[in-house]
């Protein structure tokens, strides 16, 4: 019902089948028409239309022939037939279903049983076959160790082994193995004897024996020549054979030749397998795709070669796992055959073994079961039909009675009695039907009145709720009241509280008498409730007011009450026509309620409009104020940005200052050491000259001198790295050396000099007396001492220069801080460089910081190396400061493969960060250091750098353990970030930390 703007209503299908032309389509009709019709006779029940249809049907079927009396018995038979069918299905379906399922289960398990039998047979047969292979291998091993055979192969002194002896012995051996071909090769793999069943020589002229090819090319021979014993299954010509190859060696394991035994996998072999499997099983063997031997017998008793391999099995790729089972027909007899691979020693498939299980018992069982099932179903059907007919008849009888009663009620005869008093559900239904008929009758009467009210209320409600202008509302209410209640005049008077309580007619309709009803409204208001009177002029409470208004006849009036406050009165009069019904008054009261609500709505609407106008004005004022404030803030922000930029530069300079101080010291110490050594070297070189001349005048023989210098040369490398000994050690060593050298000339002097050489001194002391050969030891020892000093100094200088180079190199790499582009970097290198740069701070005083590295294996990551170095510098520097420059610093790295990130953790055992400070440490300008020591930007900048790399920095702290953890993506920052990453990150970082524009508005 969407047509709210006019008073048309869309389909209201009460009594839609009244006339033939109305049946054909929707009826559009006005509210008034509907109401008029519905306020007439009671006829809105659809139930009655059934009667109409039935009666029309009767009329159409012509006189004397009752369609009902015809159709009723037909329907009865239909019901019984249906009940019979349902009973049949209910009884038979489970039986048939269960039988079918049971049969399917039985067949499938029998089928599976047969497949299982075949598979198990295959397993057993393959095991047996492989055991036979093992047996062949064992037998061949015995032959290969036959002393006579080996003797025959050993070359006689000065000649080749006798081929005849070999053949003779092999021939003897071959009697024991009737199906086997035995061959012996010499140490080069050439066949010297082939024997089968005692026959040897003539075989050599023939291409094969029993279809077996010579095994010269077989891999087992090659393996045997390499001392390996092999047994394998191979294809030889058209046959499958088991072939064992063994080396023939003498007691000293010298290779004499090889022995090869070849046994065809023929009828005898498969017969043995079949014998182990039991009745109803057949065995078939394939080489490649072709059957070569089987236990199948033809009708004449001749052995068949076996069925060819089904295409879905195929010769290749049977491999491991479940064997394949296929159904085959051999000789007109059905079999299930399980196929499994036969492979050679390399694991390549060379053949197939098939085990067939007779399916005939299964087929017979299936036929038997089918017959039994068919007979069973037929018998069950007959029985069920008989029973179902009987049951259906009994069940439908009371239903027929009930059916007849229902028809007569349908015809409109609500007083029909249904004569069923059985004590079952149908009896209950009959009783319920009786009760139903009664209440049907009562309900019909109430229904018509209710429908009218509902429609009216709906109409009025819709009319008043869609309008907000009060006068219009009131006008439409009185108009509706006149129309709906069939009045001649109607009026609404509203209360006016000021100056005193009185009523003013605000709307009227119909006869102009309504315009004068204000006094009557006052009288009704005084009554305080709705009033219905058949003649107002006779009503004791109202007649005065009616007289004043000039109103006569039946009147209904109702106060308009809103939240228990009376706001007005509605009055409707008929000016002398029929009196109003009680229903009319109820309707008027509903009108009154709706009108009161509408009045309230109209009032609220007015208020809201006024309020919103004030609000808009205020918003306009505020907006102006805010805009000026925003300009102010923007200016302040610009100033702040400039200030921050200056501070960042200060931080960088502070860092640089700190680094330079440390590095200067680092470079200075080794430089000073070098300087000192170089000074000393001048003296040493001079002394060395003296020593050399001493040495030459010492009177040593040239041989002694050569040995001496060999000794010196040999010691030189160790001298370079020898450690200086303490004074105490030196004194003890001198004593020891003196004892060692005792008896030689100038032993004391030499001992003192050698003592300076440390551990080497003792080694030299052992050899020196021999070199000196009785001459003075002093020049020898003196020269050694100076050389030793020289060597040691050169080592020290090398170390010092090395450490200078290391520092300078690290500084060089480190200084690429700002310009380094995004590249693949090794995090460890960056950290190590930073450690070198900070090494001065880390070894502060004697105690210093112990750096522990727990490095994982890291992939190179994409990053700005310089920026990351700045992070490590900050974190390590902070850690060192936090620990008061002594303690333990742990640097741990690892890779999280699954997240594609790497993790660097820097941990110190300092006092830790107070819990209340932790949330703020990454804030810019936050510092716990004394004023002037830090800008408070270090960690903030570090955090920004890590974020711009797409990473995360976190901290956990407890007294004794503070750990900063940096996680970085291996693939660097996300593409967008990396596109931005061309500028210096610090700038961007600060930009990002200022509040975004416009947050103030």
């Amino acid at each position: 019902m969407s047509a709210a703007d006019d008073n048309k209503v869309t389909p209201l299908r009460i009594g839609a089948n009244d006339t033939p032309n109305e049946r054909s389509g929707e009826i559009r009709t006005t509210t008034a028409e509907v109401l008029r019709r519905s306020s007439g006779e009671v006829r809105a029940s659809a139930m009655f239309r059934v009667t109409d249809i039935l009666e029309r049907g009767k009329r159409r079927s012509g006189p004397g022939v009752s369609s009902l009396s015809l159709s009723a018995p037909l329907r009865r038979r239909g019901l019984r037939r249906r009940v019979t069918v349902i009973l049949l299905v209910a009884a038979l379906a489970p039986v048939i279903a269960v039988s079918a399922v049971a049969l399917a289960l039985i067949f499938s398990s029998v089928e599976q049983g047969i497949e299982f039998e075949a598979t198990r047979g295959l397993q057993v047969a393959r095991g047996l076959f492989l055991q036979q292979v093992q047996g062949i291998a064992a037998r061949a091993a015995t032959v290969s160790e036959d002393p006579a055979l080996l003797r025959s192969l050993i070359a006689r002194p000065g000649g080749a082994p006798s081929t005849n002896d070999v053949r003779q012995r092999l021939g003897e051996l071959s009697y024991a193995q009737p199906t086997a071909l035995l061959e012996v090769t010499d140490a080069s793999g050439r066949i010297v004897a082939r024997c089968a069943q005692g026959a040897c020589n003539e075989l050599l002229a023939q291409p094969g024996h029993g279809g077996l090819e010579p095994s010269m090319r077989s891999p087992v021979v090659r393996r045997a020549l390499g001392y390996e014993r092999t047994v394998s299954v191979e294809g030889a010509g058209t046959q499958l054979v088991v072939r064992a190859g063994l080396p023939l060696v003498d007691a000293g394991l010298r290779m004499l030749g090889t022995f090869v035994e070849t046994v065809p996998v023929d009828g005898a072999v498969v017969d043995r397998l079949r014998a182990a499997l039991g009745a109803g099983r057949e065995v078939v063997v394939y080489q490649g795709d072709h059957p070569t031997a089987s236990t199948f017998m033809g009708a004449t008793g001749a052995r068949l070669v076996g069925p060819s391999l089904p295409s879905n099995v195929g010769s290749a790729g049977l491999g491991a796992g479940e064997p394949r089972v296929a159904a085959l027909v051999v000789n007109g007899h059905p079999y299930s055959v399980a196929f499994g691979a036969l492979q050679d020693v390399n694991g390549d498939q060379v053949g197939v073994l098939g085990i067939a299980v007779d399916r005939e018992p299964l087929a017979a069982a299936r036929r038997g079961a089918n017959t039994t099932l068919a007979l069973g179903v037929f018998a069950a059907l007959l029985l069920a039909i008989g029973l179902a007919g009987l049951l259906a008849r009994r069940m439908t009888k009371p239903l027929q009675t009930l059916h007849a009663g229902a028809l007569s009620v349908a015809r409109g005869d609500l007083d029909t009695r249904i004569a069923i008093d059985t004590d079952d559900e149908i009896g209950d239904v009959a009783e319920a039907f009786r009760v139903m008929t009664r209440s049907l009758k009562e309900n019909q009467e109430g229904l018509a009145a209710r429908v009218r009210e509902l429609v009216t209320v709906h109409q009025v409600g819709r009319a008043v709720s869609s309008v907000v202008d009060l006068n219009e509302v009131l006008r439409s209410v009185v108009a509706e009241a006149v129309t709906v209640l069939g009045g001649k005049t109607a009026a609404i008077a509203l209360t006016v509280e000021q100056p005193q309580r009185s009523f003013v007619v605000r709307a009227y309709a119909g006869d102009p008498v309504g315009d004068r009803l204000a006094p009557l409204a006052g009288a009704v208001a005084a009554l305080g409730r709705a009033r219905r009177t058949p003649a107002v002029e006779a009503d004791p409470q109202l007649l005065d007011a009616a007289k004043l208004a000039g109103l006569t006849g039946p009147v209904i009036a109702a106060p308009l009450t809103l939240k228990e406050r009376m706001v007005g009165v509605i009055v409707v009069g008929r000016l002398g026509e029929a009196p109003f019904a009680e229903a009319d008054l109820r309707l008027l009261v509903t009108f009154a309620d709706q009108t009161a609500t509408a009045i309230e709505n109209a009032r609220l609407y007015t208020e809201v409009r006024a309020f919103s106008e004030v609000l808009e004005q205020r918003v306009r004022e505020r907006t102006t104020e805010l805009e000026s404030a925003k300009a102010e803030i923007e200016r302040a922000l610009r100033e702040l940005g400039t200030a921050q930029g200056q501070l960042i530069n200060a931080e960088k300079m502070a860092n640089l200052g700190m680094l330079v101080a440390g590095i200067a010291h680092e470079v200075n110490s080794p430089a000073a050491a070098v300087q000192g050594l170089v000074d000393a070297l001048q003296d040493t070189v001079m002394r060395l000259g003296h020593c050399a001349s001493d040495l030459f005048v010492a009177g040593l023989s040239p041989a002694s001198l050569r040995r001496y210098f060999e000794l010196v040369d040999g010691l030189l490398p160790e001298m370079t790295t020898a450690a200086l000994s303490s004074t105490l050690e030196s004194r003890q060593r001198q004593k020891k050396l003196k004892a060692m050298l005792a008896g030689n000339t100038d032993a004391d002097v030499a001992a003192a000099m050698l003592a300076e050489l440390g551990d080497l001194g003792e080694r030299v002391a052992r050899d020196l007396p021999a070199v000196a050969a009785g001459q003075s030891l002093a020049p020898l020892a003196g020269y050694l001492r100076e050389i030793g000093f020289l060597a040691r100094s050169s080592g020290t200088i090398r170390t010092a220069i090395g450490s200078i180079r290391r520092i300078v190199g690290a500084l060089k790499r480190y200084s690429r801080l700002d310009e380094a582009p995004l590249e693949r970097v090794d995090l460890h290198a960056g950290i190590e460089d930073t450690l070198v740069i900070l090494s001065h701070q880390l070894k502060y005083r004697e105690i210093g910081i112990n750096v522990k590295r727990a490095y994982g294996k890291l992939p190179p990551i994409t990053a700005h190396v310089g920026e990351l170095n700045q992070v490590w510098t900050n974190l390590i520097h902070n850690a060192a400061q936090a620990m008061g420059n002594q303690g333990e610093l742990l640097i741990e790295t690892k890779v999280n493969e699954d997240q594609g990130t790497v993790e660097v953790a820097i941990e110190d055992n300092g006092p830790g960060i107070p819990a209340d400070v932790i949330p703020r440490i990454f804030d810019p300008f936050f510092t716990t250091k004394p004023k002037g020591e830090g800008t408070g930007l270090g960690l903030s900048i570090s955090a920004r750098i890590i974020e711009n790399h797409g990473g995360k920095i976190s901290v956990e702290s407890a007294p004794g353990r503070t750990r900063f953890t940096v996680r970085l993506p291996v693939d660097g920052p996300a593409p967008v970030a990396s596109a931005q990453a061309s500028g210096p990150i610090v700038q961007r970082a600060m930009g990002a930390s200022t509040p975004p524009e416009g947050t103030s508005s």
Binding site: Q134, G226, V233, P247, V249, A320, Q343, Q349
Partner: protein, 518 residues
């Protein structure tokens, strides 16, 4: 109605099909014996140790296929400057199967119960107490840091901590169960113990909270089958998935069977002919070199080890780190051997025969000692060295070797901890030539070699140790105190559809990755 019947019928058919056996989540391993004790402090047989290996975690474990320690319950470790203090950082958040946290106290408990006789959990039948004799003290520094003080710098100490008895046990379980712990082990390994039916089977279940990847298959069952034929049949029929100790004569069957597969790995094991370097004429290295040249090692290994061994060129099996492959090997060459003897002044006809001592029974490192001895005898006779074989039962053989009665002796060594030191120091250092049970039965003594090995023991830097052992092996190659013969293989067989089995050089399986191929 009809549709309903059809659906019902289908349901029946589907239910009627027998469900595949739930073997998919169970791996059955058939071995030759039942374990003796599952307490790592008591277990000394391979069957017990293998079960304990699965149930317990250690501070470090051997990496797959190699005898090289890698982090297990400890994530990192460090050694003090003087090499006597080892500090281990424990993995955080690991718990034993009973929920007890794995912390430094548990580590201390696991070692102290074995090495401190007064410890309340110490038992008289603990067999490994001596193995840890060099530990002076174990202490918990923090809940996740534990420190060992050892009596001298000893680099192989780390490898010792990867061995079975170094298992970390749940102190709660040991205290609660006492002696019964040996039958209800509780550790922090990849599998947790479920049940042990003595003489039949031990069942383990995946530990879902294992710190590393949890095992792929839920249950691991070890069954005892003494006969190798019985084990093979179980594997063929599918009632076992993995069998250990495959007999050499069964190898062809496994190779030819499409459903079965061999999985082998060199064992940490070496067999050799020791030459008594203290006695004439074998105190002359030239004679020793000639003997090495006269032994046909390749043929010997292939014929006698039947494909489950590889020729050895030195004491170290190839899967032990530091093993060199580039040293002089004295390939079999009888002519050259004869020449070498002439140069050494050998007069074979005037010499008394050399006594070659051999055990009469096979051992894991030598399947047929008598045949090996015979082959060596023939080989040496051919170049003019007479040999007399002295065959003794294994106990008497061992006694004679300790007493140094032999000139030549067949012997072998099964490595304990995968450290080169365990071969080189134990079998060849002069320290071990004395005492009532010398393990250096070549009585080889070379001061240079001794220095190198001692320095290596004190050095913890792995690269430096590798360099030193390389040097030591070069010294041996020149001095030839042994004729190294073979490194045997550990041979397992599995169903062909099984994946992920790794055979460890310790002759145990690594089962964590085992799963069935779909």
């Amino acid at each position: 109605m009809n549709r309903a019947v059809a659906a019902l019928a289908l349901t029946f058919v589907a239910c009627g099909r027998p469900a595949a056996p739930t073997a998919a989540d169970r791996v059955i391993v058939a071995r030759s014996a039942d374990p003796v004790s599952l307490d790592p402090a008591r277990a000394s047989d391979i069957e017990s140790l293998e079960v304990a290996e699965q149930v317990f975690g250690r501070l470090v474990r051997f990496s797959p296929g190699r005898l090289e320690p890698e982090p297990d319950l400890a994530t990192s470790w460090s050694v003090s400057e003087d090499g006597t203090v080892w500090t281990f950082e424990l993995r955080e958040g690991v718990r034993f199967h009973d929920g007890t946290p794995v912390d430094a106290d548990a580590v201390v408990f696991s070692f102290e119960r074995q090495i401190v006789p007064e410890h309340p959990a110490h038992e008289a039948d603990f067999v490994w107490t001596r193995a840890f004799h060099n530990i002076r003290r174990v202490r918990a520094v923090t809940p996740l840091r534990v420190q060992f003080d050892i009596d001298r710098p000893y680099a192989p100490f780390l490898a010792n901590l990867a061995m079975g008895p170094a298992a970390i046990v749940s102190p709660t379980a040991v205290r609660k169960l006492g002696g019964r712990f040996a039958r209800h082990p509780v550790g922090a390994g990849p599998y947790r113990f479920v049940e042990w039916i003595p003489g039949d089977r031990v069942t383990l279940e995946r530990n879902p909270d294992y710190w590393d990847h949890a095992p792929k298959t839920r249950y691991l069952v070890f069954v005892a089958m003494p006969e190798s034929r019985q084990r093979l049949q179980a594997l063929e029929s599918g009632s076992a998935d993995i069998i250990e100790q495959v007999a050499p004569e069964d190898l062809p069957l496994v190779r030819l069977h499409p459903d079965l597969r061999l999985v082998t790995a060199p064992a940490a094991l070496v067999s050799y002919v020791a030459m008594n370097t203290q006695r004439r004429p074998l105190n002359d290295p030239r004679i020793r070199r000639a003997i090495a040249t006269a032994v046909n090692r390749d043929a010997l290994v292939k014929l006698i080890y039947q494909g489950v061994g590889m020729p050895a060129i030195g004491p170290l099996p190839p899967n032990v780190w530091g093993a060199r492959t580039d040293i002089v090997t004295y390939a079999y060459d009888p002519l050259r051997a004869r020449r070498m003897l002439v140069e050494a002044g050998w007069r074979g006809d005037k010499e008394a025969p050399l006594k070659l001592y051999a055990p009469s029974a096979p051992s894991p490192y030598m399947p047929a000692p008598e045949r090996v001895a015979a082959a060596i005898k023939t080989g040496l006779a051919e170049v003019g060295i007479p040999v007399e074989i002295v065959l003794n039962d294994p106990a008497e053989h061992q006694r004679a070797l300790w007493a140094g009665e032999h000139d030549l002796a067949l012997h072998g060594w099964f490595n304990d901890n995968g450290d080169p030191d365990n071969f080189l120091y134990t079998l060849l250092d002069s320290d071990n030539t004395t005492g009532s049970r010398p393990s250096n039965i070549a009585f080889y003594s070379n001061a240079w070699f001794h220095d190198v090995i001692s320095v290596a023991q004190r050095t913890t830097d792995r690269t430096e140790r590798e360099r030193l052992y390389s040097q030591a092996q070069a010294i041996l190659a020149t001095d030839v105190p042994w004729v190294p013969l073979a490194h045997s293989n550990v041979v397992f067989a599995t169903r062909a559809n099984l994946r992920g089995l790794v055979v460890q050089p310790s002759a145990m399986g690594l089962y964590r990755g085992v799963e069935r191929a779909p």
